[in-house]
């Protein structure tokens, strides 16, 4: 802990409260066959993650249940293995980010940036999610049964985000690939500056962002929607409208003026 003196009084900084460089897994999980359960109520973020990693990587457990995560931040990040993880409760910010493979179920809600940069796997959230859900995901399915905050799937590069409720402002901002399915209403600036990908909206759209246009629903789209709703057992709204990139801002194959000159000569 760093001590910083200010005036006559000293302030104690432990900005994150998380610095535990020499922590060991608490080894409190109850292992029963291929399943394990542990209570996270009195554990710090670091200890919860160490225990989770011990069970999955060292003990080879493929089904872990974490009780009472208590809305702590950065839980379950960086798990790069196929397994099943259940969180009985809510996660804070940056939950299950940077994962590749796990099937995660969260019985509560999540804060900002859930499943950020997921490569593959499934994350199902029974309640609501904060802003930036599924930011920059490249693959996998992120299912939020309730509503989500702003900028859902910002910079999304693949995978599917399925939202049972409403979504906030700048949803799918700079989306590059993949799809979003939003059953409820969407805030202003939907699909602003998107490059590619598809957005399906069941409710109303407050306004479209720059270079986002309505697209034509095809049979393949309908088939995909039916399949996703069937997999996750969600009620499918009667109709969807599809939004895609208008490609008006596409300037990628334009050469720089100096390069053009080279071509001409």
């Amino acid at each position: 802990m760093e001590q910083v003196a200010t005036g006559s009084r000293r302030i104690t900084y432990d900005a994150r409260g998380l610095a535990e460089p020499h922590a060991e897994p608490p080894r409190t999980a109850v292992i029963d066959g291929g399943k394990a359960t542990f209570d996270a109520a009195d554990l710090t973020t670091r200890l919860i993650n160490l225990e989770l990693r011990r069970l999955i990587y060292e003990e080879g457990i493929s089904d872990v249940t974490v009780q009472n995560p208590g809305a702590k931040h950065s839980i379950g990040v960086g798990i790069l293995q196929r397994c099943r993880i259940t969180f009985e409760g809510s996660l804070g910010y940056f939950g299950v980010g940077l994962i590749d493979g796990p099937e995660v179920r969260i019985t509560g809600r999540v804060g900002w940036s859930v499943a950020e940069n997921m490569m593959s796997g499934v994350v199902v959230i029974e309640k609501v999610a904060g802003s930036l859900a599924g930011a920059a995901i490249r693959g996998g399915d992120l299912v939020v049964k309730g509503s989500v905050g702003a900028r859902t799937g910002i910079d999304q590069k693949g995978g599917t985000i399925l939202v049972g409720g409403d979504a906030g402002t700048m949803t799918a901002f700079m989306m590059q690939r993949g799809r979003q399915i939003i059953c409820g209403d969407v805030g202003p600036g939907l699909g602003d500056s998107m490059y590619d990908g598809q957005i399906y909206v069941g409710g109303t759209v407050k306004s479209l962002g720059i270079d986002c246009v309505e697209g034509e629903m095809t049979d393949a789209d309908q088939e995909m929607l039916d399949r996703k709703f069937r997999i996750y057992g969600l009620d499918k709204p009667d109709s969807f409208r599809k939004y895609v990139c208008g490609k008006v801002l596409y300037n990628y194959d334009n050469l720089e003026p100096s390069e053009k000159k080279l071509v001409i000569h």
Binding site: S8, A71, G92
Partner: protein
Amino acid sequence: MCGIAGIIHRDAEADVGSEMTNMLQAMKHRGPDSTGYALFGPPTDLVVIRFKLADANDPRDFDFKERLERHRLEVESRLGKIGAHIDRVDTETEYAYRALVRYEGDLKALADYLEDVPGCEVLSLGHSLEIVKDLGDAAEVAEMYDLGSFRGTHAIGHCRMATESDVDISGAHPYWAYPFSDVAVVHNGQLTNYYQWKRRLEASGHRFQSECDSEIIAVYLAERMAEGDSLEDAMKRSLDELDGVFTYMAVTGDSLGVAKDEMAAKPLVLYESANLVAMASEEIAIRAVLDREIDTSDPYEGQVLVWSR
């Protein structure tokens, strides 16, 4: 980054001092520079004045203590001159004081007269509002000012990561909506038309005690309310007139409100039940007072919500 929190008990009194301490301490990682509280105790006929005569960082020169004592006596003498009957003046810390006075006159005149004493800043003024702010985390500030025993109905709080201005008490939140009785604001974000508003509000006679952009919100709301707007109307109007990114909370003697800018760039998690509303930048702060599985939601962009007792 900064963390903000608010809690209102709609039909009872509670230990809001320790509740707010727990909420803010849970968000210490969002800002450890300073911590502040706007607490509402049971309303009295008397006026509660929280003021300071020096900042925590001020150099302790050889006549520091003597000067503070002299200035405190000057404050007391001025209270008498302006027609306030002093009930008591308590010394809270080396430089912060709490006065209880009987006073029926104009609060602006009172605040201006007191702040004319060198080093004096009126932190809050009202019949139930008490603003307490100092350097350090919530546990340190609560201990310094003995907030564990503070009972009341509602409160807002702030833990600050200084970005726009100095780490000192003047730059700490909450801000009192000078010269309005019992109105205070905490803010997480940055305001980009700060100087525009500061010049405009100064021209219409408002005073600023800090270089912190957040002080604008408190003074802005005060001016809107002086022109007859309700708290809710003033907050709604602020969404159009204040530029930047912000989630801010405002409190009055009987209500607690929150406003979120149209970019929804700053977080807020809200828990609402029939008799309790608790909200904060992070859910863990709410969990610090409601230690069970709860249903919370995140208000959307451009939303203004106000709860009254």
